[in-house]
């Protein structure tokens, strides 16, 4: 068999028009201001610099939206996705991956190196929370900004698609309000810093006895603890039955929110092979088991008066926090966006996604239906599935798609050139 079969002789790179280049440069300049402050280790004139940085990033995004989308008729615009260095694992893609990974490594294990950024964000933190910033505020703010700005980009990219518009407004709203403004305001009001859009087991701490001790000091904290329990045992099965796991994963969740917005340019990088699916099934349910075992051990330890398991259960918790909470969900999950796609964590690691997936697979009205014999096996659906589902394998056989991992983003249906796929519940 000839090696060169299925390779184009000269994969010609698509030239990015100069206005788009200006837009990207403006955004990069905004990021550069942050990088300089990060490297300098201290912030000079934090208010103007932060305003300038956010302003440049916003201007860059808006200019890009105008040039790339609004100046053309609305429709699927994936031209050059596999030619561009940033979105095809080229030099820029790797550079971005290294940058994000480096940021996460500092965030989790070397926060002292983020001092410059913490200083830079302190005025904003004062304004919102009436207290100085820490690395988590820096992280939360940048995260929310990414969801917001890239959410705007996504919104206009798919402005012809009502499902995508509404879903994007939802996912940006949940991040902005429930994962940034509200927790900030709660801190200002001397209340526990609660993120209502996350709960156990994704927020693995929320279900632990340590968390409970903290929460029981206030009504709101207690409410959140039991709200989380209710969401796990009742909310998830009921909502997933009616809507599929998308009610959470692509409409509410912050991890999903980042993947759907900032991660959208990388969604096609997910691995579609059968092998990847096999790894996925082993890995994700192992993490769910790990999370359950970790939490149960902690509670057993408390129930037995800390006599039997003392150090072991906490060691187990620390291992989970390090391996899954930080390394998997953060460093790999987001840092590797430009290399492995935007849903690595959601697909291979998230215990909440595993739990939702079990219900979606076994007991849900949600499915993706295929339209008779209209499939032409083109492969756009599979390529742009961020969860790496080989959608085409089902569509070309005219079969409904019922998969535990499907987050219901609806992009397969959007990119299909023959109108074959429809999300239904």
């Amino acid at each position: 068999m000839q090696e060169h079969s299925f390779s184009l002789a000269q994969p010609a790179p698509v030239l990015t028009p100069w206005r788009q280049k200006v837009a990207l440069a403006l955004g990069a300049l905004g990021v550069l201001l942050l990088l300089i402050t990060w490297a300098a280790g201290r912030a000079i004139a934090p208010i103007p610099v932060l305003l300038a940085s956010f302003g440049l990033m916003s201007a860059g995004v808006w200019l890009f939206v105008r040039e790339e989308y609004l100046k053309h008729p609305a429709g699927i615009r994936n031209n050059g996705t596999w030619f561009r260095s940033l979105t095809a694992r080229g030099v820029w893609g790797w550079a971005l991956g290294v940058l994000i990974t480096g940021f996460y490594v500092c965030l989790y294990w070397f926060p002292q190196y983020l001092r410059g950024l913490v200083e830079l964000f302190t005025p904003l933190s004062q304004a919102l929370r009436a207290r100085a910033a820490d690395q988590w505020f820096v992280y939360g703010t940048l995260y929310t900004l990414a969801v917001l700005l890239m959410g705007i980009k996504f919104f206009f990219k798919y402005r012809h698609n009502a499902y995508q518009r509404i879903r994007t407004v939802s996912v940006v709203f949940f991040q902005l309000w429930f994962a940034w403004l509200l927790p900030g305001l709660l801190v200002r009001l001397q209340q526990p810093e609660i993120y209502f859009s996350y709960f156990w087991p994704l927020s693995y701490y929320q279900g632990t006895p340590m968390a409970y001790q903290g929460y029981q000091k206030s009504d709101l904290g207690l409410f959140y603890f039991f709200f989380g329990l209710a969401m796990f045992f009742i909310g998830t099965p009921v909502l997933t039955y009616f809507f599929g796991k998308r009610w959470y994963c692509s409409w509410v969740c912050g991890c999903g929110g980042l993947a759907e917005t900032a991660g959208d340019p990388f969604r096609h990088l997910s691995d579609k092979s059968l092998r990847a699916w096999q790894v996925e099934r082993w890995l994700i349910y192992s993490v769910l088991l790990f999370a359950v075992a970790m939490t149960v051990l902690l509670w057993v330890n408390v129930a037995t008066g800390r006599s039997v398991l003392q150090q072991f259960s906490e060691l187990f918790y620390k291992a989970y926090a390090f391996l899954i909470g930080a390394a998997f969900s953060g460093v790999v999950g987001v840092g590797f966006y430009p290399l492995l796609g935007s849903r690595v964590w959601c697909r291979f690691g998230c215990p909440m996604a595993a739990w939702l997936g079990i219900w979606q697979r076994k007991k849900s009205r949600f499915r993706i239906t295929t339209n008779g014999g209209q499939c032409i096996s083109c492969g756009n659906c599979s390529a742009y599935c961020e969860m790496g589902i080989d959608v085409r394998a089902y569509a070309q056989r005219g079969e409904d798609i019922v998969r535990a991992s499907c987050v219901g983003c609806g992009i397969c249906s959007a990119v299909c050139p023959r109108g074959v796929l429809r999300l239904e519940a």
Binding site: P73, N78, G419
Partner: protein, 442 residues
């Protein structure tokens, strides 16, 4: 039993898969084009950078060995139908018990001066895509000749790379030998909205060479010279059967087959683009170079080859395409011009990018066809209405059940019913509307 299939397009591959499902026969697929099956209809997406070349393969490479389907990359140069052998360009001789010809098409050339110059080509084979790629670097303008599906795809491909396109269409409106006037005009407008230089009523007269034998310009039927570094010839395709001529095999435009897809020779079958039905069903053409027909023939011939003699039933006609951003679906019979006994109900969105057309019998009211632009309808619902000849009014009342657009999309079925009421003075109401999911509407 040893079955050889010539051609690894959708017809041949579907035949192989279905033979494997129902038997243990040895299967060998020979292709000169690529090592593996790929989606021909998706070639454009590889050029546009939506997909990588390997993404065009519908099955992973391990699939073939696992299903004991042998693949051979070779060109068949000669078939000895009496000795049941064939010879490849490398001189190998292969024996078969049953032979399935699925050799596909080749782009039409109508004897234009300069049609064989470098930079002049159609788009059908993988190699055509490679050549397009080769000619794209530094290309200042492409001229495309022929207002059909491949022509508009080629226009979209060049347009995606910012290469200006001049599109010569012989007819007074795009693809108006298939599309009714309103839909055809919608595509004219859409092409121009995208900045395509659309020249209607314009034919190619001549392609001019430069000093190195590459095309440098075309001259149109109006005598205008348009400089260009590439000319796309997309005036249809015809069966790729030249290597089989002058054999006992009966060939017209394509390989002649009966309703069981059998040729005039025993144990030899032809399917897909290269097959010409001796007696097509009423209203259908003898050669249908369409993905869906090829796939259906592949499935049918598998039954017959495995001993279960099965006639090819093309079913109710359907097809689909995408013209830049406007999706197109057709179910049933929607001719470009109406015969007196057919009534048409045509609704178009004020934005001019969506439409629904339903044709029905003026006397009985039975629906005859659906044409959708920018709106998705359910294949099986339309198919059932068409098979049963459901009256237009019954269809209109439950039209919502046919809607296949994504959730939250505006639904226009009630506008269609209102239009019908205005035109006929009837007072129909839409009974079945598709809910926005089950939770709103129902």
């Amino acid at each position: 039993m040893r079955i050889i299939i010539i051609g690894n397009g959708v017809a041949g591959i579907t035949a192989a898969r279905n033979i494997r499902k129902r038997s243990d026969h040895a299967i060998l697929i020979i292709s000169d084009e690529t090592d593996y099956f790929f989606s021909r209809t998706a070639l454009m997406y590889a050029y546009m950078g939506h997909l990588r070349p390997q993404d065009l393969k519908p099955y992973e490479d391990w699939f073939w060995a696992k299903n004991r389907i042998e693949l051979l990359r070779a060109r068949v140069v000669e078939v000895d139908f009496e000795g049941k052998t064939l010879r490849t360009s490398e001189g190998r001789t292969l024996l078969y018990d049953r032979l399935i010809l699925a050799t596909g098409s080749k782009p039409n050339k109508f004897g234009w001066p300069g049609q064989d110059l470098d930079g002049v080509q159609g788009l059908y084979h993988w190699q055509d895509l490679e050549n397009m790629e080769r000619h794209s670097a530094g290309l200042q303008r492409a001229v495309i000749v022929g207002g059909g599906l491949i022509g508009i795809e080629m226009a979209e491909m060049f347009h995606s790379r910012g290469i200006p396109v001049t599109f010569l269409v012989r007819e007074p409106s795009f693809w108006n030998n298939v599309l009714p006037a309103e839909e055809s005009d919608m595509i004219n407008r859409h092409l121009r909205e995208h900045g395509i230089d659309l020249r209607l009523n314009t034919e190619l007269r001549e392609i001019l060479p430069d000093t190195r034998g590459k095309c440098r310009a075309v001259i149109t039927s109006h005598g205008e010279e348009i400089p260009c570094g590439f000319v796309g010839l997309t005036a249809g395709v015809s069966p790729n059967v030249d290597f089989l001529r002058n054999t006992p095999l009966e060939i017209g435009r394509g390989i002649r087959v009966d309703e069981y897809l059998q040729t005039n020779l025993p144990d030899v079958y032809a399917i897909g683009d290269c097959a010409e039905l001796r007696q097509p069903r009423p209203g259908r053409r003898p050669i249908e170079a369409v993905w869906y027909s090829a796939r259906a023939m592949g499935e049918t011939v598998a039954h017959t080859v495995c001993g279960d003699l099965t006639p090819y039933d093309p079913g109710i006609w359907f097809n689909s395409a995408k013209f830049f951003d406007i999706e197109y679906q057709v179910y049933g019979d929607v001719p470009p011009t109406l015969s007196p006994e057919v009534e048409t109900l045509y609704w178009e969105h004020p934005n001019g990018r969506k439409s629904i057309r339903i044709n029905y019998d003026r006397l009985t009211g039975a629906v005859l066809g659906f044409n959708l632009m920018g709106i998705r309808y359910r294949h099986n619902v339309c198919d059932q209405w068409l098979r049963q000849g459901t009256p237009i009014e019954a269809v209109l009342e439950s039209l919502g059940t046919a809607n296949f657009d994504p959730e939250f999309y505006p639904q226009h079925e009630s506008e269609l019913v209102a239009l019908y009421n205005r035109q006929t003075g009837r007072m129909l109401r839409l009974k079945r509307r598709r809910g926005v999911g089950w939770w709103i509407g129902g």
